[in-house]
């Protein structure tokens, strides 16, 4: 049942764009189709999560291929957000990228294709189908990123994306083929015991780290992510960032679930990589001027948190601490859902703000909360959630990981190997605090204060459908945040599917109950307090309260986002190497001068691109072998012949 619903959802999503390709007038049909697909698939996923595994298989006329899908708890768990976001994004796109706008059909077609293929990746039971769907997602997202390929910026973003993604795909080729080599089947089946210890298993794990790391945007493989998410249309960024990069996480979890025992070293690698990308991701985010780049770097941070959780799970499992492992996996998986929800919410509302203010520059917005209150509220909710503050969903998943960290220190013996997990706690603490800093800056600068540009002051609230698209996401954030105990059983099913050999401690779901209670209390009291205060000061006088001695305070006197972030950027200067252009006025009457600073991506701009340029320079020498003289070409012929004759005469 669930499998059929899912496949129907996939089909609807994939087909949704075609009518718009044919005629502009069909864009409504597209929206209806993709929303319908999203709903159908979501129902299917929920059924799969509650009822249990279901499968479906059709023949496929290519060597080794089979159109086989399997919806087990893990797949269903990853499918749910995919379909939710597909539907929301499709609804949002209806007005965000109206049919009249350039390449509307193109965007709709590839969006549907990407969403459908994404769902297919999450439930493919045949490795070649998995691979094919994976690559379809990659290519269609490439086309979406390159939507406005007239701008050099999106061209290079798309180029870097497709390159990185193709490297990942080739690594995945190797993974799939190696799996076939050890299992002699093209399906995902558990590996023989002890595979983790032999070279093939280790090769698999290394390749997985590369392939899935690139796709998930884990540091240092994150290079493609910021540019891509900034360049794509907002609803596309929402899906790419909310669920697209989860493809990597899913692949990783799926592969790990096939091993009977993963080497602890791999877990430690995951842990450290996760910690690194969570801290550095958020640090880089703070330094951004571009709202969507900022959100993109937060995706790196959240992927880091998720991977950290997986690392906890692996390490704890190898050292026989089931509760700890379950906490790690559960935190990771739940964060997959949460990040999907609040990141999509943030991208959609950010898109609305950009749509109305006609700029992505944070420092050219401001004061939007008065002009578009709904969007502001939605962004605020998203911000509170992503910062991991109670009583919203972000807190729940991070709380699980914190508890894991603390359990590792209370639960392990002296010098126990699992003590490395203690690192999680300070890492999460730093990440959380920085994320808070970042979103205070973002929300404050974009929505609060006075408008910093003409466009911002003329901004107006976006159409109803665009707002409606955010509602399910808001509800999701609230539901998981306020009623986590409700999701406990689903979560434990998913965890069991992710780590089949892990004994599921009964105490686990009970842990979430008090969180739920306190979350409800907090929400109740806080809302009550705000409302009462609003009531008290309803008829308060409004004036220019504090002009700090300036007769005419202008909006340019406001604290900019960059200066808000300056402190933190200073702390992380060693990693970010900000480029600051500050002309010093030294004459008696200094001429007009402008201060500017920006933070390039260290890995991409300071390491990778120079390396590639170098490689290209070296390859340039090959040109001398093809330099026009036929005599030389004939010489190659002769030399080859002689060499081969010599070989044959051996």
């Amino acid at each position: 049942m669930s499998a059929i619903l899912v496949i129907v959802g996939v089909a609807l999503c994939m087909a949704s764009g075609l009518p718009s390709l044919v005629t502009r007038r069909a864009s409504v049909v597209t929206t209806v189709l993709i929303v319908a697909g999203g709903v159908t698939g979501l129902i299917g996923a929920v059924l799969g999560l509650t009822w249990g595994t279901a499968g479906l298989s059709l023949p496929w006329h290519i060597p080794g291929g089979a159109l086989a899908i399997r919806v087990d708890a893990l797949s269903a768990f990853f499918l749910a957000p995919v379909f939710l976001l597909a539907g929301a994004g499709g609804l949002y796109a209806d007005r965000y990228w109206p049919a009249a706008r350039m390449r509307a059909g193109y965007v709709r077609a590839f969006f549907g294709l990407m969403a459908g293929a994404l769902a297919l990746v999450m439930c493919a039971a045949n490795t070649i189908l998995f691979l094919a769907a994976w690559e379809v997602v990659a290519v269609s997202s490439f086309f979406l990123i390159a939507t406005e390929h007239e701008q050099a910026e999106s061209r290079s973003a798309a180029w870097i994306y497709i390159t990185a993604s193709h490297v990942a795909t080739l690594a995945l080729f190797a993974i799939v083929v190696l799996l076939h080599g050890v299992t002699h089947t093209w399906a995902f089946v558990p590996l023989a015991a002890g595979t983790g210890a032999i070279p093939v298993g280790q090769a698999l794990l290394c390749l997985a780290f590369i392939a899935f790391g690139i796709k998930a945007g884990l540091m240092p493989f994150h290079i493609w992510l910021p540019g891509a998410h900034a360049a794509a249309p907002s609803h596309v960024s929402a899906v790419m960032s909310g669920v697209g990069i989860k493809m990597g996480v899913y692949g990783l979890v799926r592969l790990l679930s096939l091993f009977d025992a993963v080497p602890s070293a791999f877990g430690t690698t995951l842990l450290l990589a996760g910690i690194a990308s969570s801290i550095l991701g958020v640090a880089f985010a703070i330094a951004q001027h571009d709202l969507k780049r900022l959100l993109a770097y937060h995706s790196i941070e959240n992927i880091g948190i998720i991977v950290t959780g997986l690392g906890i799970g692996v390490v704890a499992q190898t050292h026989g601490q089931p509760l700890l492992a379950v906490l790690g996996y559960a935190g990771a998986l739940l964060h997959v859902w949460n990040h999907g929800l609040f990141k999509a919410l943030l991208f959609l509302s950010a898109g609305a703000a950009i749509h109305s203010a006609h700029t992505r520059e944070i420092d050219r917005m401001g004061g939007l909360a008065r002009r578009m209150p709904w969007t502001a509220a939605a962004f605020l909710i998203g911000a509170v959630a992503i910062t991991g503050l109670p009583p919203l969903n972000g807190f729940v998943s991070e709380w699980l990981l914190y508890v894991a960290g603390f359990t590792s220190i209370t639960g392990s013996p002296h010098g126990g190997p699992a003590l490395i997990l203690v690192l999680v706690v300070p890492a999460l603490a730093l990440t959380g605090a920085l994320a808070l800093a970042c979103f205070v800056k973002a929300f404050g600068t974009v929505f609060l204060g006075a408008p910093r540009s003409e466009a911002a002051s003329d901004a107006s609230e976006v159409p109803a459908t665009m707002r409606a698209a955010t509602v399910p996401l808001i509800l999701g954030c609230a539901a998981i945040g306020l009623l986590p105990a409700l999701f406990g059983p689903l979560l434990s099913r998913a965890v069991h599917a992710a780590a089949p050999r892990l004994p599921m401690p009964a105490t686990f779901t009970a842990l979430l109950q008090p969180i739920q209670d306190s979350a409800l209390v907090i929400a109740g009291i806080a809302i009550a307090a705000v409302l009462t205060l609003l009531a008290v000061t309803r008829r308060a006088a409004t004036a220019l309260t504090w002009d700090c001695g300036y007769a005419e305070p202008t909006s340019r006197m406001q604290y900019t986002a960059s200066s808000t972030a300056r402190g933190v950027v200073g702390l992380f200067g060693w990693a970010m190497r900000p480029v600051i252009h500050a002309p010093r006025p030294f004459t008696l009457f200094p001429s007009a001068a402008a201060f500017e600073s920006h933070v390039p991506d260290t890995v991409l701009d300071r390491a990778l691109l120079p390396a590639l340029r170098g490689a290209r320079w070296v390859l340039g020498f090959a040109r001398y072998f093809q330099h026009g003289r036929m005599q030389l070409y004939l010489l190659y012929l002769g030399v080859t012949l002689v060499a081969l004759l010599a070989w044959s005469a051996r």
Partner: protein, 299 residues
């Protein structure tokens, strides 16, 4: 029962702490100083005043004060101030404790930015930067305590008894020292900030509330008093052994908190504000001290 007692304790005696601090400073400086209950009078006065809102602001501007009051109260419910067990105690509540304050920071800073005034922005920038550095210190301390007590709930975590003092006294001392620094930073006292000066360039917390007035400002004042009280109570809890009798424990807590107030006063009158560039160094030092405590207990 204990819950009510505890709430009353916090709600009523929090402003007293401010009085104690100022009085201490006055005595050290050789003045008579304000009456101990001055803070109560101020609150009363402010609540009676009318509010003037900046023309740029939205509802966020008022959410700040509201949350600033609600959060410390909720947080205090997680601490065992009267009796061995806090009214709200469960595995992992210590994380909630820390994150509640993060919540209040989010809204107070957002409220500050809502005015669009340059000075508020300045304050926000400092607040969020320093908080990011203070957070790890807090968590390191909690980690060490968790190791010592083998529990994940503040109620067991903080009811430190003689054996653990005897077992890990060094670590506990380090934790208390580090947390005291965090307390000073979080509540913007000297040497991090000077609540008395109103020179914007030197301020962190004060500069964020410049545009508030009337009841809203009163709430902010009260909220910061509550916050200071809760932090002091946290440290007091680490230091104090518990009898189990609610009344005695409550009294002990109050006493300890007031003592801490005196100490704060002494610190404030004995040293000057740090230059802003030095602040991060001090906070990092605090984190290191707490981290060292963790190393000690793990040894």
């Amino acid at each position: 029962m204990t819950a009510v007692l505890q709430l009353l304790l916090v709600v009523l005696t929090a402003p007293l702490l401010l009085g104690v601090i100022t009085r201490t400073k006055a005595i050290v400086a050789g003045r008579r100083g304000q009456p101990l209950l001055q803070a109560y009078y101020d609150l009363g006065k402010l609540l009676r005043k009318e509010t003037v809102l900046s023309s740029t602001t939205t509802w966020v501007f008022l959410a700040g004060p509201a949350v600033a009051v609600v959060v410390p109260l909720l947080a205090s419910l997680l601490l065992p101030l009267a009796g061995p067990r806090a009214p709200l105690a469960f595995t992992g509540d210590l994380i909630l404790f820390v994150y509640l304050f993060a919540l209040s920071r989010f809204f107070t800073t957002a409220a500050a930015l809502d005015t669009g005034s340059a000075f508020e922005g300045m304050g926000v920038a400092r607040e969020i930067t320093f908080a990011a550095l203070a957070e790890p210190a807090l968590f390191f301390g909690l980690l060490a305590l968790a190791r010592i007590s083998g529990s994940l709930s503040l109620s067991q975590l903080l009811t430190v008894d003689g054996t653990s003092w005897h077992k890990a006294s060094a670590a506990l001392v380090l934790i208390i020292a580090s947390w005291f620094i965090v307390l000073l930073a979080e509540n913007s006292r000297v040497p991090f900030d000077d609540p008395n000066t109103h020179l914007e360039l030197t301020m962190i917390h004060e500069v964020m509330v410049l545009d508030h007035s009337g009841p809203a400002f009163g709430l902010i004042l009260y909220g910061s008093a509550l916050k200071l009280f809760v932090f002091s109570a946290l440290i007091a809890d680490v230091a104090l052994p518990r009898t189990g009798n609610p009344l005695i424990d409550a009294a002990a807590t109050l006493g300890a908190v007031l003592v801490i107030g005196v100490v704060i006063g002494l610190v404030e009158s004995s040293m000057a504000r740090l230059r802003l560039v030095r602040v991060p160094q001090l906070l990092i030092a605090a984190s290191l001290v707490a981290g060292f405590a963790v190393v000690l207990v793990l040894r």
